[in-house]
Amino acid sequence: MPSNPSNHEFGSYGGRYVSETLFPALNELELAYAQARRDPSFEAERFRLLRDYVGRPTSLYHADQLSSSLGAEIWLKREDLCHTGAHKINNTVGQVLLARRMGKKRVIAETGAGQHGVATATACALFGLQCEVFMGAQDVVRQAPNVQRMELLGATVHPVHSGSKTLKDAMNEALRDWVTNVESTYYCVGSAAGPHPYPTIVRDLQAVIGEESRAQIRNRIGRLPDAVVACVGGGSNAIGIFAPFLGDASVKLFGVEAAGEGVHGQRHAATLTKGSVGTLHGSRSYVLQDEHGQIQEAHSISAGLDYPGVGPEHAWLKDQGRVNYVSVDDQTALHAFHQLARTEGIVPALETSHALGYLPTLVQQFKDQEPDAPPRKSHRGELARGLHVIVNLSGRGDKDLQTVLATTTSEGSASQITTQESSGEAP
């Protein structure tokens, strides 16, 4: 525990563990952000863009088939319908609007799955700002379509060859660029991580997910949900949907990390589940590290969760016990991916598939706890009955097709997938 916890925003977590060079920029950002939030014209413009450009509010969809098969009412918060296909754009529209307000002409970003890179490139195109994106060389390969999208949007993508060549290394490189070009450049952080005030800014900008969900579910079932589930990479989609529910004691919150090949080995990305307190990328939080304090490489089939750190607010929520952090492995996530595609016609991002993959366990847990709970609603009139769970469907899976197809083939389950030649003639 630091002796002066007041320097941390979230209990003993958060802070600014960065080079001295960046301090004035972080102070400037904190100030500019505080002013912007108080400025009705900034908020009006942000609201207009969220509504008309991003497509908010996103819908809250009752997944009929999934609900039937799980024996609980599953509601999907459709962030996959956002412009560019994930929740990331909620954040970048706000931050790039702020960058413009601060007079910055150049924006940099790190990206893992490429969704944040695309979302940043998009917002920069919209405002005519120069955009440069750092992306691990391994992710450049496994998320190739997103690289192409960024380039079409006018951004320059810098493949990063150091370390594990994934998100962590992209963020290292973005920090190096920022420290070099700090006067001209706005660093648009993509998750609820990084030095203060980023975790706060990103949470605030993503909280619209939870605000809408809370109003929508009350509107539908006349009460709050029993549980809210989200995947956790850096933690932005999760904190975005959790934030407005934190004060609702009756709502259980579940953050699902990537267990990769299993949390008992070394190849996973379950930072809160298996990590310990450390500093990475500017804030004090949980990290995956060895006994010597070296950061470990994370592993997940999902590029967006493949990160050995996590936003500091999640560390705090974990210690407080307010949120349950759990993990789901590659196989389970893949299974959930296919299941949602086939039963609901929605192809989820692999990140999101981790949240979906936890649902069977979650439902079972609730049932074990309340064996006499009322059964599922039998018709629409009894909507409020039963167990209601909101899942943050943080993004769509178009970007993951190659990854998933590769696993399907390599595991010989390609028989699920059929292209038939049409003979044009009956037998």
């Binding site: 002066n4 600014r16 150091s162 420290v179 700090v182 450390g278 990328h281 304090g293």
Partner: protein, 265 residues
């Protein structure tokens, strides 16, 4: 007066800047490090900054990134670096400033680190990603164990921060000559040194200039106004060319004495 302060005031009294040599502990091999530190001392380094390698060195350019990766690949840990210091101290008393990132120290434990570093014979610590607002957790134990805590200032630091940093410094302050990472080309070292001179007045502490100093000429261009000149990437690059320790030692000693020549005012 700490060993670091003594070195600085000796240089001052010789009307020259102090030469601070950065070496990455464990690169290219942990076994070489004590010999290389001695070689640097022989060449005329007033202070050695001994880099504790970290997996994610966000303040460093490619040369030191790769040096850190090589060192980690050879099993260098913070504990091992402290052992190296202990070994160096058997026959060499050049001031040693441990230089690195916070996470390995956090993991080791700040109190335990200060104790063990003092025991090993180190003289202080500089942690690039531990700013004054979070520093007390480490600075307290260091001071308690008689070690220096060396903070940084940057070209972007405003007056408020200069004071904040002045308040936590125990010996000198490390002034980063440019906005950038280690190994970057400094656009104007003279101006940086003049800035250091102003900071010295403002803070009441000696100020060394680092980042972008590669040659005796570079050293000379800061020596008049700054209290110290830090050379790092140039040394790392030199060592990369050497396949044998004896060659590395003699080349290092030679380069350092060349650089040391630039320290005269």
């Amino acid at each position: 007066m700490s060993r670091i302060e003594q070195a600085l005031s000796r240089a001052q009294s010789e009307n020259r800047a102090a030469l601070v040599a950065y070496l990455c502990a464990g690169d290219p091999d942990p076994q070489w490090t004590p010999a290389l530190v001695r070689a640097a001392a022989r060449g005329g380094a007033d202070i050695v900054e001994l880099g504790v390698p970290f997996s994610d060195p966000t303040a460093d350019g490619i040369a030191i990134q790769q040096a850190s990766a090589r060192a980690l690949g050879k099993g260098t840990t913070l504990a091992r670096v402290l052992e190296m210091v202990r070994e160096i101290r058997t026959d060499c008393d050049v001031p040693i400033l441990l230089f690195g990132y916070y996470n390995p120290i956090l993991k080791y434990g700040e109190e335990r680190f200060a104790q063990d570093a003092a025991d090993a014979g180190a003289d202080g610590a500089l942690v690039v990603d531990l700013p004054p607002e979070h520093a007390s957790v480490l600075r307290g134990p260091l001071v308690q164990h008689g070690l220096d805590y060396v903070p940084l200032l940057a070209p972007t630091s405003d007056e408020g921060r200069v004071q904040q940093v002045a308040n936590v410094a125990t010996s000198f302050i490390y002034f980063v000559s440019l906005t950038g990472v280690t190994g970057a080309a400094a656009p104007d070292l003279r101006a940086a040194a003049q800035q250091a001179k102003v900071l010295k007045v403002q803070t009441g502490h000696p100020v060394a200039v680092g980042f972008g100093i590669k040659s005796a000429q570079d050293v000379a261009s800061v020596a008049r106004d700054a209290d110290g000149a830090v050379v790092g990437t140039a040394l790392i690059k030199l060592l990369q060319e050497c396949e044998e320790l004896p060659v590395a030692e003699s080349k290092l000693t030679a380069l350092i004495s060349e650089l040391a020549a630039g320290t005269q005012r």
